[in-house]
Point group: C2
Chain length 177, copies 2
C-alpha cells in the first residue's frame, strides 16, 4: 500500500493518535487505511454417507481437492456466502446445518468458517473453478491430495464426529503451514 | 476508492474475467482491489452472576453501554482479538469459554463474534475507549442505553440461556438497523 486510494497522495506508516498499531496514513486528506483479516466461508456438503469435494481449477493448489469455499463478499451473510460458494464451485444446492469449523489462519490474515450442510439430491457439476466435483465415501478421501490443512482438519473432525452423531463447533488457530 | 494504492493511477469499476461482481481495477498495473467484510471480535465477560459492560468514550454511540469488542487485527486469532479488546476497553483479563453469538451485520459489511468469557476476579477499569466500566446484575442492565442491537441480542440470549445453563452458539443475520 503506497498511495491513498481516496486522493492518490503518498502514504506513510505511523501510529494514529489513540491507536496502538502502525497504519497507512494519508497526510493530504487525513484518511487512515486499515487492513484487516478476510473471511473465507464455505461448506462441508453431505449426501447420505458421502461428502462433496471439488478439484481446484485455479491456483493456489490447482489440481488438489477442497471443500467449496471462498472469500465472503460485501452485502451477504456468512451462510449466504457459504451457499453461494457451493453453487459457484460445485453447482450444488445445500441446506446449512450449522457452523462446524472456525479457523483463524493467522499467518495469512484469514478467518475460515466451514458450515456443515446437507444435499437433498446428488446433483452437482464441475465449474470454471473446479476441474472435477464428486462425492466421496470416507474410504475414498484422497488424504494426500487435499488442498489445505483446514480442509484436512474439517474432514477429520467430520468422520470422527460421525461415530457419535454429534458435531460441535471446532475452533482452530493456525499460525504457520 | 478512486486511485490505485499500488501505483496511484485512477481506478475503474469493472467485472474481472472469471468473476461475477464489479471490482475496483487498475489498468495501469493490473491490481484488482477487493473489498470484503470486516470481523469484529469481543467478549461477554461474566463474574459470578454479573456481566461487564463499558460506556463508550468514542463515537459511534458515545455514552451508550456495550460489550468490549472491536475490529480484529491482522496477525491475531479471533480469540486473541477478543481478549485484547477486553483488556484495551475494560482493563479486564478474561478466560474465553466459547463462541456465543455470530452476527452477520450485512448492511455495514461486518461479521461480529462475541465469545462467552469468565473473569476470575472483579478487576477492571475505565480506559481511553470507555468512560466507565462496571459489572451489572440482570436487573441492573440499562436496556434502553445499549449501544447496538447486537449487544442487546447477546445479553438477551445470555440471561435466557442462564435459566437452563446451556449456552449454544447463536447465529444471527441483521440486514438493517
Amino acid at each position: 500500500m503506497n498511495y491513498c486510494s481516496s486522493c492518490a497522495a503518498p502514504l506513510h506508516l505511523g501510529i494514529p493518535e489513540g491507536d496502538h498499531l502502525p497504519r497507512h496514513i494519508c497526510d493530504a486528506c487525513g484518511t487512515i487505511h486499515y487492513q484487516n483479516p478476510r473471511v473465507i466461508t464455505g461448506c462441508l456438503p453431505v449426501f447420505e454417507d458421502k461428502v462433496l469435494l471439488c478439484k481446484r481449477a485455479i491456483e493456489p493448489r490447482k489440481g488438489y481437492w477442497t471443500l467449496p469455499a471462498g472469500f465472503m463478499e460485501n452485502d451477504e451473510s456468512t451462510t449466504e456466502g457459504a451457499i453461494r460458494e457451493t453453487m459457484e464451485e460445485a453447482n450444488a444446492h445445500v441446506i446449512i446445518s450449522h457452523l462446524y469449523t472456525l479457523t483463524s489462519i493467522v499467518h495469512v490474515n484469514q478467518v475460515q468458517m466451514i458450515y456443515l450442510a446437507q444435499m437433498e439430491k446428488p446433483e452437482f457439476a464441475k465449474s470454471s473453478e473446479s476441474l472435477e466435483v464428486r462425492l466421496f465415501e470416507e474410504s475414498e478421501i484422497p488424504w494426500d491430495q487435499l488442498a489445505f490443512p483446514t480442509i484436512k482438519n474439517a474432514l477429520n473432525y467430520y468422520f470422527n464426529d460421525r461415530k457419535t452423531g454429534e458435531f460441535p463447533l471446532r475452533e482452530i488457530i493456525l499460525k504457520s503451514n
